[in-house]
Symmetry: C2
Subunit: 203 residues, 2 copies
């Protein structure tokens, strides 16, 4: 006897199709030209299906970004910030994975479109930072806190400042395209942030 269609599973499929369509389209046309109509057409659903779950294209994109971050984590087998006891190695591992994502068109195009749109639009930017970015920064902070507690960082280390010193140069080179993003670059940033670039001179 054939099973009846499962409405929950159909919903899941539609939801996923909508998020995928939003990510593909925002990479192709940018945030400003993205419309709920176009997302619906690409996903093969009615516009009302989207509006039943999300109030706006911004809301769709925020959920799509969260799904994308989740996929990236799952794809790399990443279940949390690594803690091998070697802080430099763990930071390099995670930043190399981020470089790989930024060099992968599938992740890069929507991430760039959203980041640029958030930079230009304070309301969208605040929601993006709160929902997508801050949870990621919290993972870095937790790993740095463990290192600080273990005496591997100076006791008065400002953890948030350190996170921004690690992610700032990567984001700068990514958004402003001053040079290619490579593992060598993020490795050097980690070493520079931990050890400093000034010559240690005898007092």
């Amino acid at each position: 006897m054939p099973k009846p269609p499962d409405p929950a599973r159909r919903s899941d499929r539609s939801r996923r199709a909508i998020l995928d369509a939003a990510l593909a389209l925002v990479g192709e046309v940018g945030y400003n030209r993205l419309t709920v109509e176009a997302i619906a057409a690409r996903a093969g659903v009615g516009k009302q299906t989207i509006y039943r779950w999300w109030p706006s294209k911004a809301a769709v994109l925020l959920d799509a970004s969260l799904a994308l971050s989740g996929d990236a984590g799952a794809g790399s087998g990443w279940t949390g910030f690594p803690d091998t006891g070697d802080l430099a190695a763990d930071l390099k591992y995670v930043l190399r994975a981020t470089v790989d994502e930024f060099n992968d068109e599938k992740y890069e195009a929507p991430a760039r479109a959203l980041t640029a749109a958030g930079a230009a639009d304070p309301e969208l930017g605040a929601r993006f930072t709160e929902r997508v970015l801050e949870p990621q920064l919290a993972l870095y902070e937790a790993r740095l806190r463990t290192a600080r507690d273990a005496g591997q960082l100076a006791p008065d280390t400002d953890l948030r400042l350190t996170v921004e010193m690690l992610l700032g140069p990567l984001t700068y080179r990514w958004l402003l395209r001053t040079a290619p993003l490579t593992h060598a670059y993020t490795d050097a940033v980690v070493d520079g942030v931990l050890a400093g670039v000034a010559k240690v001179t005898a007092g």
Copy 2:
């Protein structure tokens, strides 16, 4: 006997009015909704006057950004990167001035609109980076080179990397609005980049 009108001076006035109008408008409506027509109307000139000097709104905005950077430098009495012999003090001075600019709506709004538009549009971004950003980065590099030559930085210091470690965190906090931009923040970045955040432990 009244002097005849001076066409060169009138040209200068029109040119300046066009650049000012472009800066004001891009801050108000963003890059995507900016039009040459609107710039002409705000500047009180005909559209053809703009097209005589610039091929596109992007070209107008690039020149406007260069004029703005020039004004900021002139306004602060800045005639070059300071070199007092104290690298940390000189870097803090320049980064504090940059924080002040980013906290001034007049400079901030067009800079943000242009940076966001350049992040989203590779062609515009490349021109912005080449014409506006790179000349500024070169000033930082030159100051760091002097310090490296004087033995104040490790001999193998990567100057470009160091510049991006200084400007990356500032740009990150500015564009992503993770926290307010303050002098204390950029001071701490300078100290962190020069000395590192890791605890020096006896081998």
